[in-house]
């Protein structure tokens, strides 16, 4: 007893919900289910293929005789009907009516069309299913920039002069209003090409005939224009491997959906260091000469070595009008290696006697072809595989653009061919070296400067030997323990020299020297 009442309640509720949910679906007394579908749910005026209004019936009597009437009410309030009989031979089947052809009607008005289906047989029911479809002027209601808006309207007098307008805000878009004659069937078709820079938002498309009786409702419809997507070609890099201080170049092309090349705006290129954390950014901008987007990233002597990745994040490219792309990340990688410094000793070759000064003017350049100014440059003199002196630190001379230093030849220094090796390095592992040879004669007799190939052979042998020894000797005890930071010392000394107290000492000493000189003069 309680159970059957519960079932009844549930069924009633279920039916109630079905009715409430949209009325598309009803179950009649015999238990059939009815569903109406309008396809397409939206179309434009004059669409020749019309709208299929399909009624799906389930749980049908089988065999059985059915009859339905479709009534469509257009936006003006006018209505048209069509009736279709069906001989049921299955439990589920569909029956369709096509609007407007089956109804003797037309698709000439924009707006919402209401559909109601009545059952005539076997039961009588004024509304077993309802539905709706919409008619507009355009093929879609929203567009991306660069796409074409197709407009189709019908219901005009043949050859009537129809005024067409497309308005954004309060102003017509360029080229509108314009006019066009309706074709012999009273239809008007045209298309409007949106551009990469079309204003974004709502546009109103409207048509009005000259002799045609004003439509009710009028031919007016809104469309929305959205930004478009930019597609990028794969990110290319100029060099897969660079040395620090060299510049890494990146290129890509950008296109709109219509195939046109993008040439405004820019994209930030994110460069990620090998640590996977540190990010540098460089902007890719349009390069007129190559017709591509280009970014140049100058690396420095301190940049991390290893594999870097360059990325254009999705939607990070924006043109001048707010269109953006790419839809997926663009990525490439490149590798940065330590810089090999070019070291060239400019002026040391020659013959030096005891007491003469061997000048060391050295040009050190980075792979990026500018001067190496920060780091350590030192010279080592080697003769017969023995280190004579060094490392002597060279100091960078801003005005000369060279590293300079010197060595004064001593009485105890060996006579012969010396090889001077200059090593430039910094704390970041960038390194380079250069070698030159010179003749030293501490006995005072000048050795012949022109011994030809014999000297060169000797030099070669000694360079080889010297380099070997140098590597071994670089572990010399004092130098491992005590670093001679000449620049720091000179800097500190200059600070002290600037002090007042030292100046006062110097003035006192100077006054004294003058006094002594004066006394001496008096005496003489």
């Amino acid at each position: 007893m309680r159970g059957s009442r519960g079932v009844l309640l549930a069924v009633t509720l279920f039916l109630g919900i079905l009715v409430a949910v949209g009325g598309l679906h009803k179950v009649n007394a015999a238990g059939e289910g009815f569903t109406l579908t309008s396809l397409p749910a939206r179309t434009s005026e004059g669409n020749a293929s019309g709208v299929d209004l399909t009624l799906s019936v389930t749980n049908a009597a089988n065999p059985g005789s059915y009859s339905f009437t479709w009534t469509v009410t257009d936006p003006s309030g006018g209505s048209a009907s069509t009736t279709k009989p069906v001989l049921s031979t299955a439990a589920a089947w569909t029956v369709a009516a096509k609007y407007p052809s089956d109804f003797g009607a037309s698709l000439n008005l924009v707006g919402s069309y209401d559909v109601i289906i009545a059952e005539n047989l076997p039961s009588l029911n004024s509304s077993i299913a309802t539905g709706q479809f919409t008619v507009g002027l355009t093929d879609y209601t929203s567009y991306q920039r660069t796409s074409t808006v197709h407009v189709e309207a019908s219901g005009y007098l043949p050859a009537d002069n129809v005024t067409i307008n497309i308005v954004y805000g309060a102003t017509s878009v360029s080229g509108y209003p314009s006019s066009k004659n309706a074709d012999p069937t009273g239809a008007v078709q045209f298309s409007w090409q949106t551009a990469v820079d079309s204003a974004l938002g709502n546009y109103t498309v409207s048509l009005a005939g000259t002799n045609t009786v004003a439509k009710n409702p009028a031919d007016i419809q809104q469309v929305i224009v959205y930004p478009t997507n930019i597609t990028l070609t794969p990110l290319r890099t100029g060099s897969i491997v660079v040395q620090r201080t060299e510049t890494v170049d990146f290129w890509f092309n950008a296109t709109y959906p219509n195939g046109a090349f993008v040439n405004t705006g820019s994209a930030p290129l994110r460069l990620m260091e090998p640590d996977g954390v540190t990010i540098h950014t460089v902007n890719a901008i349009y390069d007129l000469s190559s017709g591509t987007y280009h970014a140049a990233y100058p690396t420095s002597l301190t940049h991390a070595q290893g594999t870097w990745t360059a990325t254009v994040a999705s939607a990070s490219f924006t043109d001048a009008f707010g269109n953006s792309g790419p839809s997926t990340v663009q990525q490439t990688s490149f590798s940065i290696q330590r810089a090999t410094l070019a070291v060239s000793l400019l002026s040391s070759s020659g013959t030096y006697a005891q007491g003469s000064v061997i000048p060391l003017y050295t040009k050190v350049t980075v792979p990026g072809n500018y001067n190496f100014t920060q780091g350590a440059v030192s010279a080592v003199f080697i003769s017969s595989g023995r280190t004579i002196v060094g490392p002597i630190s060279l100091v960078y001379d801003q005005s000369l653009g060279k590293w300079t230093g010197s060595y004064k030849v001593n009485r105890v220094d060996p006579t012969g061919t010396w090889v001077v090796t200059i090593i430039a390095s910094d704390n970041y592992g960038n390194i380079g070296q250069g070698t030159a040879s010179l003749n030293v004669d501490t006995q005072g007799t000048q050795t012949s400067a022109d011994l030809g190939w014999v000297v060169w052979l000797l030099v070669l042998v000694i360079v080889g030997l010297g380099c070997g020894i140098l590597i071994l000797r670089r572990r010399g005890v004092i130098h491992r323990e005590v670093k001679l930071d000449v620049q720091a010392i000179k800097q500190k000394a200059n600070e002290v020299k600037g002090d007042d107290f030292l100046q006062s000492i110097q003035t006192q000493l100077k006054r004294r020297a003058e006094r002594i000189a004066a006394e001496k003069e008096k005496r003489d």
């Binding site: 323990e481 001679l484 000449v486 000179k490 002290v496 020299k497 110097q506 000493l509």
Partner: protein, 261 residues
């Protein structure tokens, strides 16, 4: 043995950037080495804050009537504060005239507070040279870059800078040498307490490297010596143990000083 230049006395300031580099030890030993060669050598303790020479010369300055402090204050004539050491030390015909500095705190404080006149100091040097016919006047100084010390250095004919080869010492020595060279006086370098594991060629190479960067002339170097440190500054090795290799070294330094141009 004749002095190289009869009537010119060399005043030589022995200085260092850091303390404890061996100034006093070297001053005392080189003075003895020079005297043993027959030279007439003046030794003046200008380390007014931390005098130490009296320990080597085995004298108690508080027992003396005058010290260099009195000379600088203009209280006493320089010769009155000078002690002749040759009898006590048996110097083989040579002479050492030693001017100690006061070890009394009150006097040290007074001298430091009042400072001294450049002229007074200069006159004192000249008087000692003339009175005792000195060939050399060695002046032990207080380490570091201080007004009075630098002033004294500016008066002397030569500056000898003592340095160890440790990182801090070398840095300071570099700075000191740079400053000293602005006084237009020759600057000489002695590297001291070189650890035994460092080869001579390494020391020379390092000295040359220094010479390549700074206007300083390498006067010599001394190894670290157990005998020197073991003598607790009480004995002058050159006098007590002339055969010791270190004494030989000190004599080498004396030679270098004699060759100062």
């Amino acid at each position: 043995m004749r002095p190289r230049r009869r009537n010119v006395t060399r005043s030589i300031a022995v200085h260092s950037y850091k303390g404890g580099t061996g100034k006093t030890t070297i001053t005392a030993n080189v003075a003895v080495a020079l005297a043993l060669k027959g030279r007439r050598v003046g030794v003046m303790d200008m380390d007014l804050e931390g005098p130490g020479l009296h320990v080597f010369f085995d004298l108690d300055p508080s027992q003396l009537r005058f010290t260099v402090n009195d000379v600088l204050a203009g209280v006493a004539p320089p010769e009155a504060a000078c002690v002749r050491m040759s009898e006590k030390m048996n110097l083989n015909g040579g002479e050492i005239y030693y001017t100690p500095a006061s070890v009394k705190v009150s006097e040290i404080m007074r001298t430091l507070k009042e400072g001294f006149e450049l002229d007074t100091f200069e006159n004192a040097i000249r008087r000692l040279q003339e009175k005792f016919g000195l060939h050399y006047l060695l002046i032990d100084t207080h380490p570091g870059i201080q007004h009075d010390t630098l002033l004294a250095l500016g008066i002397c004919d030569h500056q000898v800078v003592i340095s160890r080869v440790d990182q801090q010492d070398i840095f300071g020595t570099g700075v000191l040498v740079e400053i000293s060279s602005t006084m237009d006086k020759p600057v000489h370098l002695i590297l001291n307490m070189i650890p035994p594991r460092i080869r001579e060629s390494e020391v020379l190479k390092f000295a040359r490297t220094l010479g390549a960067h700074f206007t300083v002339d390498m006067a010599g170097w001394l190894p670290f010596s157990e005998e020197v440190i073991g003598s607790l500054s009480k004995a002058i090795l050159t006098l007590k143990m002339p055969r010791n290799p270190m004494s030989q070294r000190f004599r080498g330094l004396a030679e270098a000083i004699e060759s100062f141009a």
